[in-house]
Subunit: 340 residues, 2 copies
């Protein structure tokens, strides 16, 4: 990244917020959260979100089948709706197709996208198309709804709130490693199940819209974000928006299971869970008095307690032996080098 | 375009409509018009539209200053809202910045975009960002509103309806030619005014939202589309959606003026007006009994009568000498070669 541009995504977003017109009107929440929130109908707020998927940056044709590219492109935006506690309704798809793209690729792409849209009751209502010489670029816009005043933001966490995360973290990043052939080559029969789980988590992630709606409907969570860029990065986003810090326990973080340490070292499992992105699980904080209302699992997805919000603005990782270290955001930053 | 992909944009859009989920619910109008139409609030319908602007396809860094790139990227989507007779309210901006892009470019881009947004009372509420190795890609999403049942579609034209177009056509395409140095090099003092007009029309086009609202508010137009791809192409879109044909008069089409034929041949003026896109003027049809209610000009923009809708599905161009020829769509097709 040349020095004259923006150094990081937070810097860019902060600049965008500074220069954005100040007129707010029916705008409830603008640049900087998972999605924008607009008051349009009485009793309901509209959620608008958009996510880019670019060949070579967000997917690789050599690794990602077109059906998975379509699924993942929509899942990114659906997960933003989940992270507001809303229900997705409509989607627009902007697709810049490369001259090299076959009709079969386009058909498979839409098959993956439409199947996920159907599962979530989301109707594709329009979009735009272009033909480009090189890489495919996709932008998926989702329009959702949430009852007025019920949307969950990143900014509501308060000191003393307990931190929870759904499902397993790092599984998608492990799936990507396996796709790249960087793991599991020696995998025996008992390894097949976790290999398949990791591959599916990467290629066909499930946005947690039901869980998001449960948390907002019950008024359980004080802040909510989806884990799209990795726990370390998304926890930093949530804490920055709330003006707080956090302590989380190394042992408490749900890491990818492996049949043996031959398949995956303990330190790798932790790194995957801390910094691997694209799991689209939900990270949320709960005020202490409501913690007993959080179920152990929601519709089969375990909800893990992983730490506590702290008044000091630092993120600390507590080890089992009682020592601790500072947790640096090590996940995805749209302005740093692509994972490619 | 390789043979195994889609041959033209209409073919692709027809395929998209076939495979799109059939659930309609609160979807009033889906893929195929200028924008999607959704019933969200009582008495109001929501308009959603999205437009890609890609470096080398929709703009060239060597010709288009970043301020104009930002202006034009938003203008495309605002014009889609105008073409539904709606009022733009909110916008999302997805921006894939190239590694070569300077901070100054990004600042100027947003300056152009925000100025136009401010003029139209549109608030930028979010978006997405990515860093790519090569060309810049922009997707601008605009969310607008229209009173329920008032939106103007492409599909309402009926045989006998009169065809009108606002402003001057081909001015933007002329501006692009001038930018490329393909015209006006010998231009004297008296040519300066039309040179400047054409350049401004290309770099800083004005979406006709007020006119669109006027037409829908008064219930004047039976069908409406914006001239973004060129008159010949957009008239074909409107006629195809309405299941009709059209006769238009060569002499009636508003063509770019030129101080002398040395600057611009008569045949070039006609070709620019017929096939040059990106003027963002409005093309609309009016039932015969309402024609007398159409003013000669609206807020200083002349409204030209150019022809009549016909029951036969052909587009015919009538010459001053009484002969006629078939009008082939010669404008922009997102699936054919870029104008670049």
């Amino acid at each position: 990244m040349p020095a004259q541009t923006f150094k990081s995504e937070p810097e860019f977003v902060a600049w965008l917020r500074r220069i954005a017109p100040t007129r707010r009107g029916r705008l409830r929440l603008g640049i900087g959260d998972d999605a924008a929130l607009l008051a349009v109908a009485r009793g309901q707020e509209l959620i608008l979100t958009t996510d880019l998927s670019i060949e070579g940056i967000h997917f690789l044709p050599s690794l990602h089948p077109p059906r998975a590219v379509g699924h993942r492109a929509l899942a990114r935006s659906l997960s933003d709706i989940a992270a507001m506690g809303g229900t997705p309704r409509f989607a627009l798809v902007s697709l810049a197709i490369s001259r090299r793209t076959s009709r079969r690729w386009v058909e498979e792409f839409y098959a993956g996208l439409n199947r996920l849209a159907g599962q979530f009751g989301t109707v594709i209502v329009g979009g735009d198309t272009a033909l480009v010489p090189d890489r495919i670029a996709i932008d998926v816009i989702v329009c959702g709804e949430v009852p007025a005043g019920r949307a969950l933001r990143r900014s509501g966490a308060r000191p003393g709130d307990q931190i929870f995360v759904s499902g397993c973290l790092g599984l998608s990043a492990l799936g990507l490693e396996l796709l790249r052939g960087q793991g599991g080559t020696r995998a025996g029969r008992r390894s097949r199940r976790w290999t398949a789980e990791a591959l599916c988590a990467h290629l066909y992630p499930t946005p947690q819209c039901e869980l998001g709606r449960f948390l907002s409907g019950r008024g359980l969570a004080s802040a909510l974000i989806d884990v799209s860029d990795g726990l370390s990065t998304d926890l930093a986003h949530l804490c920055a928006a709330s003006g707080v810090g956090a302590w989380i326990g190394e042992e408490l973080i749900p890491k990818p299971a492996a049949p043996s340490t031959r398949d995956l070292q303990e330190s790798d499992r932790l790194a995957l869970a801390l910094h691997g992105g694209e799991d689209y699980q939900l990270l949320f904080t709960v005020p202490r008095r409501k913690v007993r209302q959080v179920p152990r699992a929601f519709q089969g997805i375990p909800l893990h307690w992983i730490g506590v919000i702290w008044v000091s603005k630092r993120l600390e990782l507590l080890r089992a032996d009682g020592t601790h270290r500072r947790l640096e955001p090590g996940g995805w930053d749209h302005f740093r080098s692509p994972k490619g």
